[in-house]
Every structure is written in C-alpha cells, then in structure tokens.
C-alpha cells in the first residue's frame, strides 16, 4: 500500500489504500470498542484538533481515537472564519506548526480549508469535514460498516438518499464506494442534487420506492429544515412523504439490506424513529466503527515519519 501523507479527500486514495485503511481498522476495532485496552503506539505524538466549525460528535470521535493510541490531544477551536477572530487563517496554521504538533485534524465550514492548511504545514493533515466538499473518515467508516455486514462491496448497490447537494458526506461516500466497485444511486428532490451529478459516476433517481427492492444499503443524508426557506422543498412533511424512510418503505428492502445515516438524524424527516431503531439500522455501530477508522488513519499517518518508507513485515 502506498503510504499516506495526508487524508484530505477520498479522491486522493486508490482502492488498495482504502482496503488498507479498512483492514487496519478491522484490527483496531477491539481497541476502539474497548474489548481491549488502549495501546501505546502513538505515545509522545501530539494531535491537534483544529475545529473551525462546531462538531462535538466528530471531535470526540477523533479525540477518543487519538487517546486509545496514547497520543496527546490538543483542541483548537473557533467558529467561522479564523480572520473573524483577528488572526489570519495562515497565521493559525503557522502557529500550530511552531507548536510542534505531529498531525492536524481540520474541520471547517469552508470547502478546501484542509487542503489550504496543508500548504502551510509539513505535518500530516486529516480532513474532519470541510464545507460541502469532503468528509473522508465518515465515508471510510461507512464502507467499513457496510463491508462488515455485506462482505466485499464489489457489485453491491448503495442508495444514497437526501440532501446530496450540500453534503460533504455524499461526495466522499460515492468516491469510496466507486473505488470498491459498488454501484451507487443518488436519490433526492431535483433541487437537492448537485450540478452535473452524472460526473460523480453515480446513477440518479427521483423515485426512492423504485430503487429500494434492488438496494443492499440505504444511506440517508441529513436534511436541514432551514433549507425549506430557500425553496429547496416546501415542507418537511412533504419531504418525508416522498424521500423519507418509513416502515412501509423498509419492507420493500431485501432482507439482508441495512440502513445507515451519518448522524445527527432528523427523526421524522429523512428517517422515522421506528426505522432508526429497527434491527436493520446499523447507525449506532457506525459510531463505534468511526473510532476504529480514525485510529487507523492516525496510525497510518503518524507511525513512521520517513515518507515512502518501505514496509517490511
């Protein structure tokens, strides 16, 4: 497997690297889910969580992942533009560099911010979600979860339904699934599809009912209620009726199919409470798997600082 120097976009990975990350996470899962104690692997390493956008869930997940591997964690948070705090974006990055951190986990509401930060810093950058662009660890934990339930994903059919336009998860998810040979169908109201969706290499449908019988996974995306005010759709009631997953639609799925959601869920909009809590839902597992995936990413980025070092067993 080619070594990782940063993890900014799934686009930067090849299939072998994705599989390598998943296999690594598989071995780390007992540590992530606390069947085994934490390991000393990253002792002495300092991981900085640079969160320019609030996300308690993702930050805690990265925090736990680093701590399960004995890294030290520092948190640097600020909302919105770094400039609004009176410090330039560049200075924030350079400050972290000067503090001698070994890895920066960047979360930003601005698409591209982690890539920009990576130009100022020598240390590995791990994208924890940027604007509408990418959320690579989310996609990796999702395909990890799918693989644990379905085995090899080649030829499997994943339906991604919801607000694709504004979703960094969807962009990463489709790329990761395509790398593993899965077929993806995007389902959304036309107003919530991105421009030129066919260029993503996914199929597109407006009809959730039509694609369900053929799905191995239904992946629901969060729909923000405030989108109603920009005329994306008229009401959450109408949204739920046409694009939400309820028990009737759940019954149309093949028996082996699973239901996923990146969280936090809007119960009653994109997913009903019955579906979220059903035995088909693996949403809670996704959370634990997220820690294992983030451990794997930190391990692969941080153990070994000689770039391109040959891996000998």
């Amino acid at each position: 497997m080619k070594p990782l120097s940063n993890l900014i976009s799934i686009e930067d990975l090849d299939a072998e690297q994705v599989v390598g990350i998943l296999d690594t996470a598989e071995q780390l899962l007992p540590i992530a889910d606390r069947r085994r104690n934490s390991v000393p692997t990253l002792r002495g390493k300092v991981v900085c969580n640079l969160f320019l956008e609030d996300s308690t869930r993702t930050r805690i997940s990265f925090d736990l992942a680093a701590k399960r591997m004995s890294a030290e964690v520092i948190n640097f948070s600020g909302k919105g533009s770094s400039v609004s705090k009176g410090e330039s974006f560049k200075d924030t990055a350079l400050t972290l560099d000067a503090m001698g951190v070994d890895c920066v986990v960047v979360r930003s509401g601005s698409s591209g911010a982690p890539l920009q930060v990576s130009r100022y810093l020598e240390v590995p950058i791990l994208n924890a979600g940027d604007g509408w662009h990418q959320h690579p660890t989310q996609a990796l934990l999702d395909v990890f979860t799918m693989r644990r339930h379905l085995g090899d994903l080649a030829g499997r059919h994943v339906v991604v339904c919801g607000d694709v336009l504004h979703s960094r998860v969807a962009r990463s998810e489709v790329q990761a699934l395509r790398l593993l040979g899965a077929r993806v169908t995007l389902v959304a109201p036309p107003t919530l599809l991105p421009p030129a969706p066919e260029s993503w290499g996914a199929e597109v449908s407006g009809d959730l009912d039509a694609v369900l019988p053929d799905a191995d996974v239904v992946y629901l995306l969060r729909v923000q209620r405030e989108r109603m005010h920009r005329a994306f759709f008229p009401s959450s009631r109408e949204y739920a009726r046409f694009w939400g997953l309820d028990v009737d639609r759940l019954a149309r799925l093949p028996d082996h199919a699973i239901v996923m959601h990146p969280g936090p869920m809007n119960r009653g909009v994109e997913i009903t409470a019955d579906v979220a809590d059903s035995d088909r839902s693996v949403i809670i597992e996704q959370v634990t798997n997220g820690i294992a995936i983030r451990m794997a990413c930190l391990y692969l980025l941080l153990s070994g600082d000689t770039e391109g070092a040959e891996v000998t067993p």
Binding site: F89, G112, A113, H133, S199
Partner: protein, 445 residues
C-alpha cells in the same frame, strides 16, 4: 500645440521611433515605419524619417501601437490603499503599456460625487504615469437605489461619461431603466455589473462539474445572462447606450451578438483572465483564482475568443483588482474576488490569441486601443498614430518570453493568477504625451 501638451509644458528633445512595425487600428496601418515625436505630439509618420536633433529609439523587431486604454481598473484609492493606490496602479498601467485607465467607482468614499472623481483625476495627473478617466457610480453609495449625480460628474474636471456600480449589479429594473434614460441627457454610457444577485446568493465559483466535486456553491451562467438580457431589452427600448463589462459565458456572447445585429447601442468587454483561464484550475482552492464573474468552462473560453475576434466583444478590459495578501490568504469562501491584470494583459492576449492564430496583431491591438476608445470618451487615447495627435504610444516586444512573478509586479498586491506562467510579449516603452512612462521595461516615476 494641444491643451494637454501646453499644460504639461513639455519641451524635451524630439524622439524618433525608428523601424518599428506600426500597428494603428484607427487608420488600419500595419507596416514598418518611423514615428517622429516632438513636444508631446506626433510630428510625422513615414518611412526613412530623419531628424538632426531627435533622439533615436531603435524599434527594429518591435511593435509601435497607440497607448493601451483600460476601461475597467480598480486602483483602490481612496479607501483601500493597502491593496493598491493611484501611484502603484499607475505604475502597473505604464508597465503594462497603458496610457489611459478608467478607475472604478467602488472606492471609499464611493465615486458618486464630483469631488471624489476630481480628486482621483487630479491625483492621476500629479503622478503623471497614465491619464485617469474615473468611472462614476450609477447609484449613490452603490446601493442600487438613488441615482448618483450624473450631470455634476459629467461637468466636473474629471468629465465622467461612464457610470458603473461595478461589483454590484443594479438589481432593481426600474432604477436601471431610469439610469439608462437619464444618462442620455449627458451623452453618458451605463455599464452594469451583470449578475442576478438572487441566483448568486452563496456563489463561490462557476456552477458545473468542477464546483460539484469541489463542494463550492455554484454561480450559474444564467445569473449573468439574465441580467444582460434584461439590460439589453431595456437599452433597446430606450435607444440608450449600454456597456456590458467582463462577459464570461457563451450564452452572454450570443445575447450581445443578437442585440448588435438588431442595432442595440451596446458595447462589451472581456478580461484577459476569462480569455485564458478555466474553472478546473480551482482544484487546489487557491483564492487567487477567485474572481467575479468566475472563471468558466472551456466552451465559454472558446466563445469569448471567437467573439473578441469577430468584434461582438469590442475590447479587452483588465478588471485589474488588487487585494492585499492577508485578504487573499483565507479560506476560499472568505477570500475576496479579484485578480491583477494590467501588467499581464498584453502578454496573455498575445500568447493565447495572437500566437494561437485566433487574432491577427492589428485586431489584437485594436481590442486594447481603438476598441475601448470607442466605448467612451478618453480624450484621444487609443486613437490614430498621426501627425498632430498627442503622442500616447506603446512599444512592444512581441517575441520576448518571460515568466510572471507576482512579487516582481508594480502593483502593491500580488494576486496575479499568472504567477509562474511563461508568457510571450511585453511592453518595452510607454509614452504619455511623448514622455517615457516606461523605458526599456523600467517605469519612469
């Protein structure tokens, strides 16, 4: 002697530009000739000219053209001198072969009153590297509500006959209609920033495949075309003069072409960067590439090049928009729009259009001189190289290869999208009223 030469009190030795390829679009001249300049005036144009006392300037292998005219420049003074001021912007203009610049009205204070226009114009005259023809605001404070005092501005020392709220569209159709109507009383041109603001509320770059993958809110081409279509319909109905700034889409080109065919009094400009750069370059989120209107697709670039060649688009205008590095060094979303243009405009047009065989040299020079000069009154700049006319001249080396270095430009800012690019062609000398403002590539401050 003209007023201007008298005013400048120039009595320098005569200058003989010998053996250059004279490209003079106003007269259609394209041949190797000598040009004799004295007292700020072109004395004679012809072959084998001699003069006993004139300094000889060897122009062998070079092009001698009218001084360039830029209809669309942001000099940032007053108000934003951290990015550029009239002195640094004038130097950039001279270095780019320009003798006339039209500084835009979005300064602080806004150029919506005679006093502001006159202070900009006077400052330009004091510096003396280029002549400034300030652009007045269409509406007070660029707010899109009440008209600025066109008459006061027109009759000021700055003689403003061109109005734009550039950067902001006049969204209210009624205000736009009245602006076009009212401008007629002063023989003025209205230039409206073409953007439907509802369609671009969050926009960050051209809407399309690239924005889709980058996760940046898209700027649909319709936003530009809807506004241009509206303005063309209004101008046509009133018989008014409309100028369309920085055209960027194939659809906009078609609208303008059709309007011109119907006889609408419309002119249009295109920037060097929209003629050269495409949206896929943004894959690294370098905010230097953020501009309004945004970089578009290859289809659009091809349409713009064709339109410039066939005259649908009248001229190249730089939309030179300096921004201080600390403003550009931000997240893409927070970085301001704009790019430098003055010092690379000729090289880009020469490299991407002339050398690519899409534009002959005379037409290329026309789009930088007589083209813009035909849009508004720029007091003879961009006009014929002929005896008795003021000597606003540019001497270009069309073959020199150079690598653009953002830090080596005369602008205070460094936000050139061409940093590191290898371009062909560069001004060697620029003459304003017969005086060197650029000599051997050095600005003569």
């Amino acid at each position: 002697m003209t007023d201007a030469a008298f005013r400048s009190g120039d009595h320098r030795p005569a200058l003989l530009l010998r053996g250059g390829r004279v490209l003079d679009p106003a007269s259609g001249t394209d041949e190797v000739l000598d040009v004799l300049v004295a007292d700020g005036i072109v004395v004679e144009v012809g072959a084998g000219l001699t003069s006993n006392d004139a300094e000889i300037l060897d122009c062998d292998g070079l092009w001698v053209t009218p001084g360039f005219v830029d209809l669309h420049t942001h000099l940032r003074e007053p108000g934003f001198e951290d990015a550029e001021d009239i002195a640094s912007g004038s130097a950039a203009g001279a270095a780019g072969g320009y003798t006339a610049l039209c500084p835009m009205a979005n300064t602080d204070p806004v150029c919506d009153a005679a006093a502001v226009a006159e202070s900009v114009w006077r400052r330009g005259t004091e510096i003396g590297l280029v002549d400034l023809f300030p652009v007045g605001a269409i509406t007070k404070g660029l707010r899109g509500e009440e008209l600025a005092e066109f008459g006061e501005l027109r009759h000021s020392a700055a003689k403003v006959d061109f109005f734009s709220d550039d950067g902001k569209p006049v969204a209210d159709s009624l205000v736009m209609r009245r602006a076009l109507q009212y401008a007629g009383a002063f023989d003025a041109v209205i230039c409206n920033h073409s953007e439907d603001p509802d369609l671009t509320a969050e926009a960050q770059m051209n809407e399309g495949q690239v924005s889709s993958v980058l996760g940046l809110p898209g700027w649909p081409h319709e936003a530009e075309e809807i506004m241009i279509a509206r303005d063309l319909i209004l101008a046509e109905g009133l018989g008014a003069r409309l100028h369309v700034p920085h055209v960027t889409t194939a659809g906009a080109v078609e609208l303008i072409r059709a309007a011109k065919a119907r006889g609408v009094h419309v002119t249009a400009e295109v920037t060097p960067h929209h003629l050269s750069l495409r949206d896929h370059l943004i894959d690294g989120y370098d905010p230097v590439l953020k501009v309004n209107p945004p970089l578009r697709t290859d289809t659009d670039v091809q349409a713009l090049r064709t339109a410039l060649a066939d005259g649908t688009i009248d001229c190249v205008a730089t939309d030179h928009a300096p921004h201080a590095p600390e403003h550009k060094d931000q997240e893409w979303e927070h970085a301001p729009c704009g790019m430098l243009g003055l010092e690379t405009a000729f090289a880009v047009v020469n490299t991407d259009l002339v050398l690519a065989g899409l534009l002959d040299p005379l037409t290329a020079i026309a789009r930088l001189t007589s083209g813009p000069a035909g849009v508004r009154d720029v007091a003879g700049h961009g006009g014929a190289i002929a005896a008795g006319r003021e000597a606003h001249l540019t001497v270009l080396d069309p073959e020199v290869r150079w690598t653009v270095d953002g830090r080596g430009l005369h602008s205070k800012a460094r936000n050139t999208p061409f940093h590191g690019a290898d371009l062909v062609g560069r001004p060697v000398h620029t003459l304003l009223r017969g005086r060197f403002t650029l000599r051997d590539g050095k600005v003569q401050a």
